[in-house]
Amino acid sequence: MQGFAGFLTYRLVRMLIALWSVVTVVFVVMRLSGDPVPLLLPPDAPIAEMERLRSEMGLDRPIYVQYGVFIGQVIKGDFGRSIHFRASAMSVVWERVPATLELAFASFLCAIVVAIPAGILSAIRRGSTYDTIVMGVALVGQAAPTFYIGIMLILTCSLWLGLFPTSGRGDWRHLVLPAVTLGAFAMASIARITRSAVLEILRADFIRTARAKGLPEFWTIAKHTMRNAAIPIITIVGLQLGNLLGGAVVTETIFSWPGIGRLAIQSIYSRDYPIVQSCVFMTAAMFVVLNFLVDVAYGILDPRIRR
């Protein structure tokens, strides 16, 4: 297990470096991009009032001092106070985490439950009408913009058919449309990757051998094919889950879903640095942890990678 522990330590260090870089880049970009003070005061506010607010927020200090203070606080887990909400930034972000996770996992579930079987079937029946239809739908799912899918779903499923509420967060019925909207892209790409990964393996010699020795087709697929096709599938699944967690800005906006993505985009507009930094950190952390888990899964599935 020495090799595996080393592998884990190496991945962990990389994770920390990735997080530090993300936080630094966001810090710099946010400060380059504009001043939050005019957004907080009426347009005719006197200059003196702006200066007061600026020094109160520490924005009058040199940027390297601000950075030093910022990193010092981040190490302690303190991302500062939200300019907009006048509350601890991390606490504002934490309030949104459940909504974001709920939506991400619902979409994720939608995506894998539909996409992986669809992709496998497509591969097995390559060239059939079924394959053509599934891949066509997947192409549309990948190409159609999220806001279009979302608005169409609201119009059809909610307004015409009256099946689901138009927006907001509540019981499971509120979850369906945003989850499908958000999951559409992931569903499509997972289905396509699954199909090609399975196809690749189906051409391998050992599958021919398995079939030649008379193994039932089901076990050929389930045991030999899937285990070998799993690496690309897990990669795309992990990446897509990351996207679902961090990339829900449009979906959350269309469906008034109180998640991190919408908070982040609003905070960018209002130049609420502490919130943006916390959101990005939170999303990056989830992404990095996921990648780490995917790496670990590789290690378990394919011992060659550990070395």
Binding site: L39, P42, D44, R86, L159, T166, F255, R262
Partner: protein, 498 residues
Amino acid sequence: MAAAEGLLVRVAGAQTATKNTLVVGQSSDISKLDPHLSTTVNDIAVTFNLYDNLLSRHHDGKLYASAATEWKLVNPTTWQFKLRPGLKFHNGDPLTSADVKFSFERTYDPKAKVNVMSVLNTIDRIETPDPLTVTIVTKKPDPLLAARTAFYAGQIMPKAYFERVGADEFNAKPIGSGPVRFVSWVKDDRLVLDANKDYWGGKIDVDQIVFRPVPELSARIAALLKGEVDLITKIPPDQMDRVAKAPNTKIEGVLYGGLYCLSVASQKPPLDSKPFRQAMSLAIDREAIVKELWRGQGAVPNSFVVKGDNHYDPSLPPLPYDPNRAKQLIKEANYKGEELVIETGVGFTVMDREMGEVIVSMWKDVGINAKLELLEYSVYLQKIREKSFKGLRWTDPTSAYNDPDGMMWRHLAPGGPNAYWFRNPRFDELGNAARFSVDEKLRDEAYKEMARLELEYLPIIPILQPMELYGLQKHVDWKPYANQMMEFRRFNLKLKRA
């Protein structure tokens, strides 16, 4: 889409919101509940219902008694307000003159770190001879003091509760004396307010008001059509038919208490030339903009004074369209074809980009070479502060206090947000005199002369007074306000129940 609307009708008919709750869908969430921290419309829509002001401006644009029952000008710098007896905050504490004094002083106390300092800072001191009397002494005569108390910063906060819990806790669990009390707020999801049964103006016609942010326009309209929300804001004119023609919903419009304008933000040639600026204005066919782009939902202004405000001069004609005269003036101005830049946000005001495009093409017709540059909102705000626009900027000044002082003078006085280069001794003299005079006749004459001076020099070119459109369930009887406030009271909110 016709078939779709037909189907939609069927579904909408089947569902209506609970009639004891009013659900309001705004375009974005509120940010703060402490009334002195915020100047945004969405926040004020809520705080004007959580708290009372001394006076309040109703749908008709006039000032009415609210927490104060009477008010008078004792001498040019002294105002006296009599409080309504028996007022109570939501926690049962009485509302007295001490709370008013505390709240008002907080708004201009630099140590209080609030964001509404420029509203009540004409006050020199506040005296409270007894619990029901508030005497306000201003530094100089201030004709608008009464109006200021009805504006943001005028919300009355409970002194004892605030001092006990501190600013952060107050913002999280606010207490006021208004017709609704705070229940809960899940950010970006919903704000729940319960009716205050003991409100002096009577309990409002619903048990609960819920504010929901629905940022996406089509989702907001869908939520209204489906009956999930009862009132929505910011419907652009091209969408109004969807709401107006559905069986259960209706449109209510009100002329905005402000103007959409092009501000001449630079003195670079040819913008330094008076005839050229007049030509720019004459070349704009405002009637066409109202009719085609706004589907009739707007009015052509006649000056930089808002129709509906004090001292509006009805004798002035709507701003004229005269391309031939414009061409002549351009010749006089020796225009050499320099390119003008109009800077605008996108969707910052309804149809800002579209109107910019139309104006660019109208100018092209008379030989003015212009282009539109689109800015992100915060960049735009930064440019306002730095006054760094390249040529012209799109702007939507509103007249605070329904008075030309809050419009013409606030924006064009030295240092004002639209005072880029314009200085005229007569204009300044009149603006100052009217600001510090409680003689309404003098003020009336001053503003009428200033309006004419503005039209001559055109430091800012008024384009349109838009109609702001709200969507409502048909059973909700409520009229929107020109100043974008949302006041829900017993007297103005009625729900028709089957």
